[in-house]
Symmetry: C2
Subunit: 349 residues, 2 copies
DNA sequence: TCCTAAAATGTAAACGTTTAGATTTTCTTA
DNA sequence: TAAGAAAATCTAAACGTTTACATTTTAGGA
């Protein structure tokens, strides 16, 4: 039985009971030194590896958390996951990652699978913020933390970035640079970031007495392709915008690609501000201005909140954290007019 | 016991034995229609969710595969994982992902954890190609497939791309464009891609009678920063190269960033070819030429091979697949001389 | 040397499934 | 109607741990 010894075999080899072996495996103390050494030697010789299933059946906690992301190819999520995984490892937890491809049906399957596997908690960026599909997790009393997107139906700890503030400041910046015809490529309005970034956009226009122009609003889906299409649509207008705010990283890539294809002069004919930094931002000429989020820190905070939930099963009220984004002003959003010219004198109401 | 019913509760509610419930849960047939309906109704009413640990203890197969990647922030790996996950889902398997951050120690911990959890197989891009740390997995007889990097110590099915061919063709292209001073930013030489891409580079130089110049060889570590440093070092030479070949995506980003910072005219003073496509490739002016790999297909093939191993435990000899890369010629590697000029006439030996 | 307390170790039930073999029920044919 | 075969269902062991409680061993003090 090479490589497949169980605790009984170890006990026999070391001349002790399985309970004593279990005490040693779990570092529980109460075992004589020489007994412990005999047991460790037996473990080594037999190549014993404990069986997580057996342990789970008895002790109920698996030291595992499940992480669910909607799009693993979006660089935001691997960064968040890196933060989660690092924190998890530091506290003896194991993080398992699964991706839904923005499908609530797949998300439901993954959640059921996680429940079956007895995960101690779940960190989720849900494909459906309504959240009624989370009933089973809720009924099982499994702690959950939502990242980047909220969950309506249940009270779940939530880690966000202040989307309103980030997009407000980005649009404000473009206004203060003299732009009045500012377009937005929106994320899905049934998501927190999609909705809130749109709110920030509108609020900034309102505060500076700028009229909301429906032509300048393109409804994207957070995918690169929709950014591309959005840019094309905006370009096709008779009265083109002079600035674009893109609501996420992938739509930024698509948008900028289209701007290039259309020979729409970035930084001259059209200014640009995107939400979430991207690799290309510093490569373009002009370099892109962006709203930047602390992704690794988001992941760490999410794990920390979840870990607290797992450890203290108190019915503490829901907590919501909004981290501050950071504006990174590069060059893609230049002055529309030189400073102090008459047209540049429009003021915040 | 809301939400926490077990199979015994279901059996009681439906007035059958747990064996009959098990037959229904597992779609094994041999159950009368009306009995089955009663059982399904009881499952529904009680909110029964099966316990994977209990099942694993009895049936030994977990329908889970473990995936190990060295750097989750490298976009290559999420793409491969997307291919794995899609194929896994299609065949009723669950894929769990863990990242080593290029640490063999962490990799060992992850592997042990996977063994404890009874994964049916492992897909790995190892942090240590020597592979002697895989002894435990091997002893447990757990099927394994290596992706992108080989494993020396054990015979493991391997899915690679033809690195030699890809880098050979990229360097050949630059030679045929008239370049003779071609530099390389190498990946780690203890990795298959690092080693083989270097081999392709050398072979192309050799085939066209070009001397290997040590000054033009920079040893990187696949990270962005080393690409940046490599470009700086190459720039600092008295006799600068006229072309650079970068061995992976992140070093490409770093290299191109440095070229920009140095005002080293990309496409004019310095030509460029990178291995693996990157988002920025099509944004730069000039757009980057790259060797492109079918990442999603790599993932799908890796899963397929693993699945075959899991299903048929035959001692089939090790298989190695090398997919063909694709050259994407964009603009970053222009002619050093106009066509038909005397200096452009150098021929392959 | 003996007694008592503390430490060390052992026993056995429990966790929740799956499934081999046993038992019961049903159906068909003579 | 009865007998035999097939179908349906049941029983109970097993998987490998953990741990509450029991038992044994050891150590110290009178």
């Amino acid at each position: 039985m090479e490589g497949k010894a169980n605790i009984q075999d170890v006990a026999k080899r070391a001349n002790v009971s399985i309970a004593t072996v279990s005490r040693v495996i779990n570092n529980q103390g109460g075992v004589r030194k020489q007994t412990e050494e005999r047991i460790l030697k037996a473990i080594q010789e037999l190549g014993y590896i404990r069986n997580a299933a057996a342990r789970t059946m008895k002790s109920k906690d698996t030291k595992t958390i499940g992480v669910i992301v909607p799009d693993i190819n979006n660089p935001f999520f691997p960064s968040v996951m890196a933060g989660i995984e690092q924190k998890a490892r530091e506290t003896g937890y194991f993080a398992i990652l699964s991706s839904t491809n923005e499908s609530p049906v797949v998300e439901q399957e993954i959640l059921k699978n996680f429940i079956e596997r007895g995960v101690d908690g779940v960190i989720i960026t849900t494909a459906n913020e309504n959240g009624d599909h989370l009933k089973q997790v809720h009924e099982q009393g499994i702690p959950m933390v939502a990242v980047d997107r909220s969950i309506q139906y249940y009270d779940v700890d939530t880690v966000l970035v202040d989307n309103v503030k980030g997009s407000y400041q980005a649009v404000q910046h473009m206004i203060l640079q003299g732009h009045e015809k500012i377009a937005i490529i929106c994320g899905p309005q049934n998501t927190t970031p999609g909705r809130e970034r749109f709110i920030g956009y509108k609020k900034a226009l309102e505060d500076y007495n700028l009229k909301l122009d429906e032509r300048y609003i393109f409804q994207g889906d957070f995918g690169e392709r929709s950014g591309y299409q959005g840019a094309h649509q905006l370009y096709s207008l008779d009265d083109r915008p002079t600035a674009i705010f893109s609501s996420n990283n992938l739509m930024t890539i698509g948008c900028v690609k289209a701007v290039g294809d259309l020979d729409w002069k970035l930084g001259e004919e059209i200014s640009f501000f995107g939400f979430d930094d991207v690799d290309i931002a510093t490569f373009l000429n002009p370099k892109l201005s962006v709203v930047s989020r602390p992704m690794h820190a988001l992941g760490e905070l999410a794990f920390q909140l979840l870990h607290e939930r797992i450890q203290f099963k108190d019915p503490v009220p829901k907590r919501e954290y909004k981290l501050s984004p950071e504006l990174i002003i590069r060059e893609s959003c230049r002055l529309r007019y030189p400073k102090n010219s008459p047209d540049g004198q429009s003021l915040k109401k």
